[in-house]
């Protein structure tokens, strides 16, 4: 039902919010002001694991400028913010399990006064032994962080027969891979303002991906109904998963203080607070065993996956679920055993981050494949060619893929465009004669379910509300949020195309929980499909009514009418404008408001075996990284990346390539330079001076190829790209660096120090045969 030869969809239209942003006019949370505004500061634990003996807020309370101090006793509703498991208090009373645990909140007339009063809250602790890694947490006699012990969840995938698989293999490669934390480092830190309204409603403005999560979390903590809490997303300065569930915590803090004081309360983290308190990409340990036959076909794969969740579950079990289900990557694997352990520690709080468990397992699988290729003497492109999934194949979870499987296309196009085989041979020759500078080129492939996992499918419905006004202007409200990825522009393009009005007529309004039904979180690269389809649903209804009126007004059968770019035509002649038809509808009292809804078909899933339709739709990508390595300094430069992405349909090709370029740079940071130094539960470098994210000078040239194999249930065939843009790059870079140095790097980030130290201690590990 897509418009044939669209004029707005599939064009690189300018973003709807770009002009405001380049002028500096967009208002983010910290730019908002309200009369009587107070500022909230947070008292957090001085120890990663300790019993709380007492909290004395008396000095803080009597500090000039302070309006209120709250501890757990002041919480009217439930002292609970755990988004999936109820294991996480908003304010701890008995036990601190991480240094980011909150003990008390202060509201004062200035942020400075609030922070300095917070320092006066006196807490007595009885420290407990710190559990600072997964091994320690799972060991016998480990201190239990929660009463039920340190294992949050166990997931698995069981398919085929492992013994048969190993017997059929010629080579078995066994290695342990580890990945470190990654910090989102969105340029805008977490921030919220809670405003008590005159009618008793509490409005929460937030930098956020999921206003509906915030609404629910605040209602829960305050003990109020959903109707009395309204969440409005402010312009959000980057999120990447870090503002999925996490903002519910500062939101509940600000809301509590707003109810206690009756005043609007702002809580905006500074950079150190944000880095110390907010969620992080999970460090993982991946014990990977891969069996391959003499032709390079994968016969068996066994993976044990350990995720360091930190002190509370949050979304860790869901992240682990995705890592679990996709540990084998985009390949045909007949015999599969994955065991995934999600573990409590006293470290930093693990949570959602672009890729959601995929980057870690992709790093392991892609490294193993390169090793296997080397052991067999075949090209890394060839081994992938022989194993990548095609239409009709079954995934590791035994899900048959009926359509839109672009894995091979992405490989072939990336390999051809990058001149992979020739460059590889050249690099090898170069390295042989160059002692201090090495070159490498290597591949990373991924597959990603661009929607929620089957286990979360109850959240997957998405709504929209569309008004066409008498002057032809259009308001569109969706449940998905704009976090920089371009969601508002995409839905505006879809709506405009469907309605036949100019793109400039469509205004997407800030996401407001009062306006649309709970549409699930803006995550999982699902928004184009979910909010896009919902917007199309609404637009189609209104279009039908407008064409009906036009048909009556002009006395032309509907089938002969076309509305496009703001003009209504019949038989190729323009007969009226979109505005005129809108006005005519109003005059005839025809309703030009419609709601839209989209929910994907139900997925069948067997939790015990980890088998079934894990995701509704998959995106595939291949990224090829070219690197140079200076063995004198240990520095790696990523020179060029060729990226081929199967996106179904690029609603806005410029924004899609923008996502790819951004994902690649964020991912190369993960691969090479981003390292949070956490010792005994304490983060030592919560700042941009010592946690390095890529600068402009680190950005490689990027050649992006968009492959469009339409997905039948996507708007115009679109799927998603937000996360696939990042997932393969760390694997590709690690493979390239390994190739360049003749050494397999099994940990990321490959910082200069780690690179030099590994080459020092080089032992070539040969695969067992």
């Amino acid at each position: 039902m897509a418009v044939d030869s669209p004029s707005i969809v599939s064009t690189p239209a300018s973003r709807v919010d770009a002009l405001d942003k380049v002028r500096g006019h967009s208002k983010y949370v910290d730019d908002l002001d309200f009369p009587g505004l107070l500022y909230c500061a947070v008292v957090t634990s001085a120890h990663p694991h300790a019993e709380i003996v007492s909290i004395d807020a008396s000095e803080a309370k009597s500090t000039p400028g302070v309006f209120a101090v709250a501890t757990a006793a002041e919480i009217p509703g439930e002292n609970q913010v755990g988004v999936s498991t109820s294991d996480q208090p908003l304010l701890v009373e008995q036990k601190a399990r991480m240094m980011a645990d909150r003990l008390a909140l202060v509201a004062a007339d200035t942020a400075e006064n609030a922070r300095s009063a917070a320092k006066k809250v006196k807490v007595l602790y009885r420290p407990l032994p710190t559990v600072s890694d997964v091994d320690a947490a799972l060991a016998d006699g480990a201190p239990p962080i929660h009463e039920k012990g340190n294992l949050i969840a166990k997931k698995q995938v069981i398919k085929g027969e492992m013994d048969a698989g190993w017997r059929a293999s010629k080579i078995v490669l066994e290695r342990v891979y580890t990945t470190g934390y990654q910090e989102h480092a969105y340029l805008e830190t977490n921030g919220v303002i809670a405003v008590p309204e005159a009618d008793g409603i509490l409005t929460v403005y937030a930098s956020a991906q999921c206003p509906f999560y915030i609404q629910k979390a605040v209602a829960r903590v305050l003990g109020e109904e959903l109707a009395s809490i309204r969440c409005i997303q402010a312009t959000t300065g980057g999120a990447f998963g870090g503002k999925e569930d996490y903002p519910s915590e500062p939101a509940a803090c600000a809301a509590l203080m707003a109810r206690l004081t009756g005043r609007p309360v702002k809580l905006v983290y500074d950079r150190a607070e944000d880095m110390l308190w907010s969620s992080k990409r999970h460090p993982m340990k991946i014990a990977h065993r891969l069996g391959v036959d003499g032709d390079g076909r994968i016969t068996a794969c066994e993976v044990k996956l350990y995720c360091d969740a930190g002190a509370y579950n949050g979304l860790s079990a869901v992240v682990a679920e995705r890592a679990n289900a996709t540990a084998l990557g985009p390949y045909r694997v007949p015999n599969v055993r994955v065991d995934t352990y999600v573990v409590y520690t006293n470290n930093l709080f693990g949570g959602a981050f672009r890729g959601f468990g995929s980057p870690q397992v992709t790093f392991a699988m892609e490294s193993q494949l390169d090793e296997a290729a080397a052991a067999l003497g075949i090209s890394p492109a060839e081994i992938r060619r022989r194993n990548l999934l095609r239409v009709g194949d079954a995934t590791a979870t035994s899900q048959t893929l009926p359509e839109s499987v672009g894995a091979i296309e992405t490989l072939e196009q990336a390999v051809a465009r990058s001149d992979f085989e020739r460059k590889r041979a050249e690099a090898e020759a170069f390295n042989a004669r160059s002692p201090d500078l090495k070159k490498g080129i290597a591949i990373g492939c991924c597959m990603y379910g661009c929607c929620l996992h089957a286990g979360g499918q109850f959240l997957e419905g998405s709504g929209a509300l569309l008004h066409v006004r008498a002057d032809g202007s259009v308001n569109l409200a969706i449940g998905g949020t704009e976090i920089g990825q371009g969601a508002f522009t995409v839905v505006a393009q879809l709506a405009a195309e469907e309605l036949g009005c100019p793109l400039s007529s469509v205004r997407v309004v800030p996401v407001n929980t009062d306006l649309v039904p709970d549409s699930g979180p803006t995550v999982a690269s699902r928004t184009t499909v979910m909010s896009g389809n919902a917007a199309l649903d609404a637009a189609r209804k209104v279009r039908a009514r407008m064409l009906e009126v036009a048909s009556q007004k002009l006395d032309v059968p509907i089938e002969k009418l076309a509305m496009r770019d703001g003009a209504l035509s019949a038989g190729g002649l323009t007969r009226a404008s979109f505005k005129e038809i809108a006005k005519a509808c109003y005059e005839r009292k025809v309703n030009l408001t419609a709601e839209g809804w989209y929910a994907p078909p139900r997925k069948e899933w067997n939790e015990a075996l980890g088998v079934g339709e894990a995701y509704s739709v998959y995106c595939f990508a291949t990224q090829i990284a070219e690197v140079s390595v200076d063995l004198r300094s240990g520095r790696v430069v990523v020179e060029h990346v060729t990226a081929a992405h199967d996106v179904g349909r690029a609603i806005n090709p410029a924004m899609v390539t923008g996502q790819v370029e951004g994902g690649i740079v964020q991912g190369l940071g993960y691969a090479l330079m981003e390292e949070l130094k956490v010792v005994d539960g304490k983060c030592l470098n919560p700042n941009f001076t010592d946690y390095l994210i890529p600068s402009a000078l680190d950005a490689p040239s990027v050649d992006t190829l968009l492959i469009e194999l339409p997905f039948s249930r996507g708007p115009y065939g679109a799927k998603g790209v937000g996360e696939p843009s990042l997932i393969p790059i760390a694997a590709a870079v690690a493979n390239a660096v390994s190739f360049a140095c003749g050494h397999r790097f099994t940990h990321i980030p490959i910082t200069p120090e780690r690179l030099l130290s590994a080459l020092d201690a080089d032992t070539m590990i040969r695969p067992s045969t």
Binding site: R632, G634, E675, L684, D690, L697, E753, L756, S757
Partner: protein
Amino acid sequence: MSVEIEVAESLPHALELLAVADPEVRPVAGATDVIVRLNAGRLKARRLVSIADLADLSYVRPEAGLIRFGAGTLLSELMAHPEFAAEYPCAVRAAREFASPQIRNRATVGGNIGNASPAADMVPPLIALDAQVGLRSRRGLRTLALEEIFLGFGKTALAPDELVTEIAVPRRRGWFQAFAKFGSRSANVISVINMAICLRLSDHRIDAARVSYGSVAPKPLHAVRVEQFLTGAILSQKLVRDVAEVVLSEIAPIDDVRGSKRYKQRLAVNATQDALARAMGGARA
């Protein structure tokens, strides 16, 4: 911690404001480091005397045998001064890789010295260039060799009423000059270590050597042992190999958040060897 800001209108005014000789009354120019350390509680001050943008401290004066420049000259201006750039490529290289363009538009050599960080990027090149530093107070003027200013980690020989006002550097055009710094990113990093080497060569003979390292000791290091090893020697593969041990014997880096001792040792050795190899190959920098 709140601090009072007083803006000096001239050098004499600044010296008058500092004459109270209180360690908690400090001069500040670009403030690019002071403001961060103050906010983090790593610095105590009750009043800051701003000497930023003082014309009295911002100048570059070439003379017959040396160039003098005001301690308040912006790094971006030093880099852009043609004669300074021609004379001191290692200092310009250090300035060019210093932080970011925004910071180079506020940072000064005086500030880089006054901070007394062992990682200071402008210091090793200026030590290797035999810089002399003028210090003024209402009590008068004194001159110290740059390396004499640093007493220990974060500690300088400046009295509380003293200001770094001028740096004088002997002419060094024609010397081989190298600067290197290391970090995990292409730009805007605090050096894991840094190094400056200046060599006066006749053909392959090293007539004079000046070597300095940052972040390998509590204060910027003037590597006299390395200098002695190199002075009078002929550049050769063997010299390049053998310098490694001398470097290791003189530097004393520690494990910290930026890197381990071993890593810093390796970088210092590699940087030194690479610079000597380039000099051997006929490069000027």
